[in-house]
Every structure is written in C-alpha cells, then in structure tokens.
C-alpha cells in the first residue's frame, strides 16, 4: 500500500525526521485554512498529491504545467492550488490517463545547499533491509544507479541485529558529512529505520534529503510503501489508504477477496491462481489479443465471488469478450460452473464467453454448463480457449 507525500512526511515527523512545515487541503475552503496556518507570505511550495512520481515535470490535462510549484506569496499559492485541485495530472508514471488531484500540500520553501538521496528497502534476495544513499539527490535514482553506480552507497542491515550507530556513521561519512551534520544525519537515519521497521514498510525513500546553507538537514519529499500482508497490524496506516487513488473495480474486487488489476485490452480473464492468471494473459497476447485485466479468483472461491467477478469484469466498457480458465485443484469445477450459471442469471452477459475447465470435478462442471443453456463456447485446452476468444473478439 502506498500513501501520499503529506502523510509520509507526518509519519517522518513523528519519528523525529525534520521536514518543512506544511499543511494539506482537499477543498477550496481547506486551501484557505491551510494557507492561514502556514502563515507566511514568503515563497510557498504547492504540491499536487497523487500516488505517482514525476509530479514536478508533469502536465495537467488542461495544459497547466507542473504539479509542484514554487509560488511567491500567498495569492500566487492560492492561484496555483486552484488550478491544480480537481484537475488531472499526467506524469511519466501515471500513464496517459493521468490522476485526478484531490489533495494539495503547502509547505514552506527552504534554501538548498545540496541534495542527497536516502532510502531503506527490504531486499528480497538477501532478506535484509538495505540502506541506499547517494550524494546525487533530487534525480531519478535508477538513472544514477545505471550511469554512475559508484555514487550509490548500499549498507545491508540484518533484521536480527538492527541498525547500529556504526551504520549511521559510515553512511554519513560516505555522504561527506562532518561535525554536527553527522549527528543530525544519524538521528534522521535512526528515525527512518525505526519507522521502516515498526510500520512494516517495504520502502521508505527521501528524495531529496537536503542541507540548507545554515547546515541543517531535512526531508523535502518522501515516499513510503507498506507490506500489504502486514497492514492488519497497523490500523493507523490502514486509515491512510486513499481510495481515490485506486481503480473502483479494484476496490470492489478487494471487497470480495478477488485479486483484480485493470489493464488496457478488451479480453477479460477469470482464472484461479496468480501464475496461471498471468500465463492466461500471456497466451491471449501471443494470439494477438489484448487482456483487459488480471483476475485471480483464488483457491477457494464460491458462487458469490464468481458472480461478483463477472460483475466487475462487465463493468469495464472496454471488455468485448471473456475467457474463463480454471484448473480445479481445491477450486472445484462444478463450483465455478454454478457461479457462471448464477452470474448469467444476475448479470446480462452480452459479450462472447469462452470457458475452459480442467481438474477436480471437471465432468460435473461441464455437464452443468451444457444443461444450463447459458450462451458460451466450451474449450478443452488453454490454447483452444485463447484462440477462440481472440477470434470471436476480433471478428
């Protein structure tokens, strides 16, 4: 799960990491209040809050440029916020459809002497947290790692030993800090690690971490993502979930414990198991079709879930055909068949439907479908199913 910059900065602040003073607003009234709270008529930074990077270089759909603005004074900030709020921002990470901006974050501006990069990630290969730091902050870190790998500092932290002072000192010295800045940096890294660990984060990233001309270190941007499997332990983090940032179909699917991801194509898939679901998308593509979604109904889906899955699939206007591919193990084919029949009664399936069943209770499942009168094309193999649906959709 991802959160917004303003939420991430509040968390950082709670863990003792210095951030510029800032206020978030979601309505024009709140914009006024936020600006009053900020109480400055100096330079104000106005930042569109969406779950995607590249905001500064992004463009709004109405042509307004930049999701991050340095504004001279309160009125300019008010203008910028008014242009951004409820507008749709397109960045290199949002895709061409962009994201609607529903929250604006105002912060004090600060003078920058140097920009650094600091992050902690959980590395899957070594099962350790890794501190990643660089003197090349404020840029795309992947590009830095690609072009100048020697400028990336990586320090692994054992989950059983945790972060120690020597780790902090080592990173601070490698970044070129000295004197009081080493102490400041150690406090920041310690807070960041504590937050990473206590909140079960997969990634915490400060880019840029800056020094001011006075020598103070603070976080100017922040990104945090959490382990979905651990969210149940953190009700405070759950509350930070912003449903506006998610596809409504994905929200509906998660209510029914279905794993659904919307894609751009026109052939919907319903499959049991994540690997088989991906493979089904792959095979549709290999025959020249385009999958409309990833949908894993899981190992133990019931009729109600299958019906819900059909409703979600059909609520996507792009869908022109449906491929159901079930290899019954735990999931019994007759249950899927009953779900399809129930769905056909409840939902008007107006597009071609191809069903491939294999595995546990396959004969019973096929018999139920045959006798139901539901308009569908049965297929005996995955290849056959994919070929038929692609052909039916492409006409």
């Amino acid at each position: 799960m991802n959160i917004h910059e303003y939420q991430a900065k509040r968390l950082l602040h709670d863990y003792g990491v210095p951030v510029p003073k800032g206020y978030a607003a979601q309505t024009s009234r709140e914009v006024e209040t936020a600006l009053s709270h900020l109480g400055t008529d100096e330079t104000i930074v106005v930042k569109a809050q969406i779950h995607a990077g590249g905001r500064g270089k992004g463009t709004f759909v109405d042509g307004y440029e930049g999701g991050v603005k340095l504004c001279k004074g309160r009125n300019a900030a008010l203008d910028a916020a008014t242009r951004m709020l409820d507008n749709t921002l397109v960045t290199k990470q949002t895709g061409p459809e962009g994201r609607k901006v529903q929250t604006i974050y105002f912060t004090e501006a600060c003078e920058i002497a140097h920009e650094y990069y600091l992050a902690i990630v959980l590395d899957r290969e070594t099962a350790q947290s890794v501190i990643i730091a660089s003197t090349e902050g404020g840029m795309d870190i992947e590009e830095v790692a690609d072009k100048t790998p020697e400028k990336i500092i990586k320090v692994p932290i054992s989950p059983t030993m945790g972060l120690r002072h020597h780790h902090c000192r080592r990173v601070a010295f490698e970044l070129g800090f000295s004197g009081d800045q080493v102490k400041q940096f150690a406090r920041i890294l310690t807070g960041l690690y504590k937050m990473f660990w206590e909140k079960n984060a997969m990634l915490v990233e400060i880019n840029p971490l800056v020094t001011t001309p006075e020598g103070k270190i603070l976080a100017l941007d922040a990104k945090v993502s959490f382990d979905d499997n651990s969210i149940f332990q953190h009700p405070d983090i759950q509350q930070l979930r912003d449903l506006n940032e998610e596809d409504p179909k994905e929200i509906e699917a998660s209510k029914h414990r279905l794993a659904y991801i919307a894609l751009d194509g026109n052939i919907a898939c319903m499959v049991n198991g994540a690997g088989l679901a991906m493979a089904t998308m792959d095979i549709i593509k290999s025959f020249g079709g385009e999958p409309a979604n990833f949908l894993d109904v899981g190992g133990g889906a019931n009729e109600e879930q299958v019906t819900a899955a059909f409703k979600i699939i059909l609520s996507d206007p792009k869908v022109e055909g449906i491929l159901v591919n079930i290899f019954g193990g735990i999931m019994k084919c007759d249950v899927i068949a009953r779900g399809i029949i129930a769905a056909a009664k409840n939902v008007d399936i107006t597009v071609p439907l191809v069903v491939r069943l294999e595995g546990t209770n396959v004969e019973e499942g096929k018999k139920l479908l045959r006798e139901s009168g539901v308009a569908l094309t049965p297929a005996d193999s995955l290849v056959e199913a994919a070929q038929i649906i692609v052909k039916q959709v492409q006409g």
């Binding site: 990470q93 899957r124 792959d282």
Partner: protein
C-alpha cells in the same frame, strides 16, 4: 524415485484442527500420506477425526510420534512463529502453505534458516506444497493429475504447476517429485535449491522449471544450470504481458519500475543456459519432450 518426501515420510500437520488443515489433511491421508500427528496449541491429547493424535507443541510431535516433516496451515499472523517452532524442534523439512505472511516475518525466518546449526529446509510460504507421486502428497494440489515417473518439477505458481504436470501425465510422462516453492518475495527454498536437488537425485532424469516475473530467482537458477546441470531442463516464465510496477496477485510477481525481473530477461537467461523454452504455457511439456525422450 524422489527428493525430500517419500513413503517413509512421517508428517505432522501444524494447524490440523482448523478448517483448511482438516480438509487438506483428509485429502493427503486419502492419497496415502502417513500423517503421524497434528499440532494445535491447547488441544493436546485430543484425537483429530478419531484417528490422528493432536499435540500442543511440534517438539512433542517429534519426540512422541517421530514426525520428520511438518506442513503448516495456520493463519498468516501466526505462520512465522509456527515455522520457527518447527525449526527449533529440528524438523528436517517444513512446508508452509499459508498465504499472506508478513514479509518482515519471513525476513526474520530466513535469517534463522541461515544459522549454522539449522537442520531445517523450508518450502514456501504461499505454496501448494510438495508431492512424490504414488508415495506422499503434502499440500493442496490435486493428487490424481500426477503420475509416478522421472521428471522433476519446480514452480513458483500453484495452478500453473498443475497445468504443466497434467500435460506431462497426459503425454505419459510421470514425475519424480513436484515442488511448489511459492509466490512470495522471501521464501525458504529457491528455484536453484530445488534444481540442485533434482540434479543430484539419481531417480530424476529431466527437470521443468516454472517461474514468474519479479526478483532474480530464475536467473540464479539458470547460472547454476549452465555450470552444473547435464540433465535436460525445460522452462516457462509467466507474466510476459504484465505491466511494470503492479503486483500480479503473488507478492513476489512484480516487475520494478526500473525493469528488474522482466520475463524477457528470464527467458534470455534460460536461453543462455541451454534450457528448452516454452513461450506458451500450453507447451511446457512439449518443450521438455523436444530434448528428453523419457
């Protein structure tokens, strides 16, 4: 004709009295697996379904019933603790079926597995389990699609493994052992571990590796294959059509924004290691049979 589990396996089921544990334990017993004990803390002394003794601890199941393999069906918040309990009871093989285990818990478990005195191999979590056809089935896979034979199968995916196994069985080729290593980013047994074991197993003649996008487990396995494996190997990677930056159902199945873990990179590694590639999930068995006559 197998690795890790066979007819001498003495299984303890952690979480035997739960709904999932009960259902799958019965399925495994029906297949012929020797279930010697179950563990549900607080229910020690009872008999599960009038036939399997329930213990309070894994240590008790080992001492009193000679359990040498454990399977775990406990809910995600308690799964890591159950794995650690089995490790400390020195069970040689632990299979964790549970889906949704916190990643940080698994990081701690993996560090524990690295201790020099660890006697345990972990398979999973978030996996279908392991089966040596005709001898021992541990986990949630349908037994009847398998057939005893000499092809080893290792996979990150559950149902996609069934697909491959079913293709093999229909073409008359049985399996020595099939291992599902699970779809989580941090797990106990890697593709490389499984392939090493199959390579060293005199009763396995050929290997199928099924991977997914995300991470570098398949690339590492291919490096091992190139160096050490003379047996024929075929492979498939799911997720070539998946978009970047989205987790595709399995927590581990994600191509990062920078493009690490793509299907193309993994297919290229397989090509380099001389692995026969199935570009299409329905051709996994065929890809093997091109280079292995059985």
């Amino acid at each position: 004709m197998s690795i890790l589990v066979n007819k001498d396996t003495r299984l303890v089921v952690q979480g035997i009295t739960g709904k999932t544990g009960t259902f799958h334990t019965q399925q495994c017993i029906d297949y012929g697996t020797n279930v010697v004990a179950g563990v549900t803390p607080g229910k020690g002394g009872q008999l599960w379904e009038d036939k399997v003794p329930v213990c309070n601890t894994v240590a008790e199941a080992v001492e009193e019933h000679g359990a040498n393999v454990s399977v775990i069906y406990v809910p995600p918040p308690f799964a890591a603790d159950s794995i650690l309990e089995a490790i400390e009871a020195e069970i040689p093989l632990v299979i964790c079926i549970t889906e949704g285990v916190p990643v940080r818990d698994m990081a701690e478990v993996r560090r524990r597995l690295y201790f020099h005195n660890t006697k345990t191999r972990l398979i999973g979590p978030n996996c279908p389990g392991i089966i040596t056809p005709g001898e021992c089935k541990i986990g949630i896979m349908p037994g009847y699609i398998h057939k005893p034979g000499r092809v080893g199968v290792v996979s990150r995916s559950g149902t996609l493994t069934y697909e491959a196994v079913w293709q093999l069985t229909q073409k008359g080729h049985g399996q020595s052992t099939c291992i599902g290593i699970g779809g989580d980013p941090i797990n106990g047994t890697s593709q490389t571990d499984a392939i090493r074991m199959f390579n060293e197993d005199p009763d396995t003649d050929a290997i199928i590796m099924i991977g997914e996008i995300g991470g570098s487990a398949e690339e590492e396995a291919c490096a091992y294959i190139k160096e050490h494996v003379k047996k024929p190997v075929a492979g498939f990677i799911a997720g070539a059509s998946a978009p970047k930056g989205r987790t595709m159902g399995h927590a581990g199945a994600i191509v990062s924004a920078s493009g690490v873990g793509t299907a193309e990179a993994k297919f290229a590694a397989m090509e380099d290691a001389g692995v026969s590639i199935a570009r299409n999930p329905s051709e996994i068995a065929d890809a093997l049979l091109k280079i292995y006559k059985g």
